[in-house]
């Protein structure tokens, strides 16, 4: 029991050290991390960084081209595009982390439970998961949002519900593998309780693929938020969001096409950064990839 209790955290620490070692030498991972850190900084200090209010309208300055006063011009209500772009960052980051948080909070415990207990419970819940995974994700999210009432939080809660079965299935598969390991048998033989086994052995060993999946999910959640905000089902006006900015600008596509570029690039770059970080984490955490 004592050797087991010590070895799991030690192993985890050692793994973390080497993972960080690999990540540090990975240019793609470092670039994505730096970009995301910058984005988080911008999101936290949006009020200080943004040159203008993101919602204050100015009828004297409608759809202006970029100038020294408005670096990215103004939109159809005379609002500063750069300021709205900056204020889109906290909304997007909040939305994607909230959705993935909901998915983790629902999916991980269910995956652990059905993987660990197995039997008919697993049988039934797994079929339910299959059923949920048959829904086109955005369509289900739109339906749930419409039903719960249109707001960003409801929209991202819906996206989280749609993502949860993916995590549940992943955690279930990992739990099934770890459950059969010899050291889990040993721990059980030494009288460890089920919660103890789950917390000490299953979770640390099942967590790695979950971390990768969660990072990749942040990108999908970000794109989902952008899509829903584009459809007016996500971030509600006058609040700024990148998807919503694109929807507005699309109405003025012939008079001010330049407004179409920056919000799209912001979404693309952020999704790319989450994806790249996820792929790098996968490579760093996968023992077979390390040897190559």
């Amino acid at each position: 029991m004592t050797t087991e209790a010590v070895s799991a955290p030690v192993r985890a620490r050692r793994a973390r050290r080497t993972v960080w070692g690999i990540m540090r030498r990975d240019l793609r991972a470092m670039l994505s991390l730096s970009y995301l850190a910058l984005l988080v900084f911008v999101a936290i200090f949006a009020a200080k960084i943004a040159p203008y209010s993101p919602i204050e309208q100015n009828v004297a300055e409608l759809l202006l081209p970029p100038s020294s006063a408005h670096w990215l011009g103004t939109d159809d209500l005379g609002r500063d595009v750069l300021s709205r772009l900056i204020w889109g960052a906290p909304n997007s980051l909040y939305a994607s982390t909230f959705a993935v948080g909901v998915a983790v909070a629902i999916g991980v415990p269910i995956g652990l439970l059905i993987g660990f207990i197995g039997g008919w419970l697993d049988e039934i819940v797994s079929r339910f998961i299959d059923a949920l995974l048959s829904f086109p994700p955005i369509v289900l999210a739109i339906a749930v949002t419409g039903v719960l009432g249109i707001s960003l939080t409801n929209a991202m809660f819906s996206v989280g519900i749609v993502f949860a079965p993916v995590l549940a299935r992943l955690v279930r598969a990992q739990t099934l593998i770890v459950k059969q390991a010899v050291y889990v048998d040993a721990a059980r033989a030494f009288g460890a309780s089920i919660p103890q086994i789950i917390v000490r052995h299953i979770v640390p060993n099942a967590i790695q693929p979950v971390i990768v999946q969660v990072t990749l999910m942040l990108a999908i959640a970000l794109l989902a938020e952008a899509s829903l905000s584009f459809l007016a089902l996500g971030v509600q006006p006058p609040e700024a969001s990148w998807g919503g900015m694109l929807a507005r600008a699309y109405n003025y596509i012939e008079t001010a096409p330049a407004q179409m570029y920056t919000p799209g690039f912001a979404i693309l770059l952020t999704a790319l950064a989450f994806n790249a970080l996820g792929e790098s984490l996968r490579a760093a955490l996968d023992p077979t990839m390390k040897r190559r």
């Binding site: 829904f135 369509v139 949002t145 039903v147 899509s227 459809l231 998807g243 790319l272």
Partner: protein, 316 residues
């Protein structure tokens, strides 16, 4: 196991999925705040009308019974009436579904024609510049917001070059050429993420096959690389490929919602978004039901086709 027994077993396995999925669709309405009968009756409904609806849908009965009533209606093609237009939900969906199916099929075709060869190319030249190129294109495609790409396509091909119409749709059977022309930009925007996904998955599946023992044996036997690829490599991933393509239907229907909004296509996707915003719940419920049934049926067909293609599946 015989082929028919296999199909029978697959059908049986799909029953619980269909039951759960339809139950989720049914349950959607239960989460609408307030009395479902009042919601369904619409604004300014009389008390009698609300009672009539309560009786019709059995809202005063246990949940399971309500579900059975709802499912029975749905199987008969009765999905209720729209709160906004008061026309039957089935009619609305039937009017709009062809437009969605056209762009989804068109996008699927583009994805298969572009994505699969890209994946094969990358897998046969692992570590080369071509491989690096395909891998980066795939990463870009997955992260690209499809509706933004759609807008950029409109700017380039409609507004600047006047090659394709920017909005709308033409019924396929009255004017096929016009329909294809209208559907081209939406299909490209919709296909991008699927191309990326297919290229990625085909690449990794083929790399695994090409690294396997028996391919090494074939190579040692003196078989040429092209023969190995066509006769053994691709044949081995054909089952994976079919499954992968089946899984993309989900993604295509999701993407169609946003793409139809960009191109103002009167399809089922734009219908569900519009209805959700306007609280037309029967329509939302109807579209979600049709979509999920489509996905489940297509995956069932893929399963059966897999069994036809791969004798190993039958043996299992």
């Amino acid at each position: 196991m015989s082929f028919y027994a296999l199909i029978g077993r697959r059908l049986l396995q799909f029953i619980p999925i269909v039951v759960f999925a339809t139950f989720v669709v049914f349950a959607l309405l239960q989460f609408v705040p307030g009395d479902p009968a009042v919601t369904l009756a619409g604004d300014y409904a009389s008390k009698e009308r609300i009672e009539e609806i309560r009786k019709l849908f059995g809202f005063d009965r246990p949940l399971i019974e309500q579900y059975a009533i709802w499912l029975w209606h749905a199987v008969q093609g009765n999905l209720g009436t729209s709160l906004l237009s008061s026309s039957p939900v089935v009619d609305l969906i039937a009017q709009r579904m062809p437009n969605t199916i056209l762009i989804a099929l068109y996008a699927l075709l583009i994805s298969a024609v572009v994505g699969v060869p890209l994946g094969i190319l990358a897998a046969t030249k692992v570590g080369s510049r071509i491989d690096a190129f395909v891998t980066s294109i795939a990463s870009l495609g997955v992260a690209l917001p499809s509706f933004w790409l759609a807008i950029l396509l409109v700017i380039t091909f409609s507004l600047n070059w006047h090659l394709f119409p920017a909005t709308g749709a033409t019924p396929f059977f009255s004017d096929p050429a016009g329909a294809i022309k209208h559907a081209t930009l939406p299909a490209i925007a919709l296909a991008t993420a699927v191309i990326a996904e297919l290229a990625r998955q085909v690449r990794s599946a083929l790399i695994e096959v090409l690294n396997s023992q028996y391919i090494r044996t074939l190579r040692a036997k003196g078989l040429g690389p092209i023969e190995i690829l066509w006769k053994h490599g691709l044949r081995n991933i054909s089952v994976t490929l079919l499954t992968l393509i089946g899984l993309q239907v989900n993604r295509l229907l999701s993407g169609a919602v946003v793409i139809e909004a960009v191109f103002a296509i009167p399809g089922a996707g734009s219908l569900v978004a519009y209805s959700a915003i306007n609280k037309d719940f029967p329509v939302v419920q109807g579209v979600v039901l049709v979509f999920v049934v489509m996905v489940i049926v297509i995956n069932l067909l893929v399963d059966i086709l897999n069994a036809l293609l791969d004798p190993r599946v039958v043996q299992q």
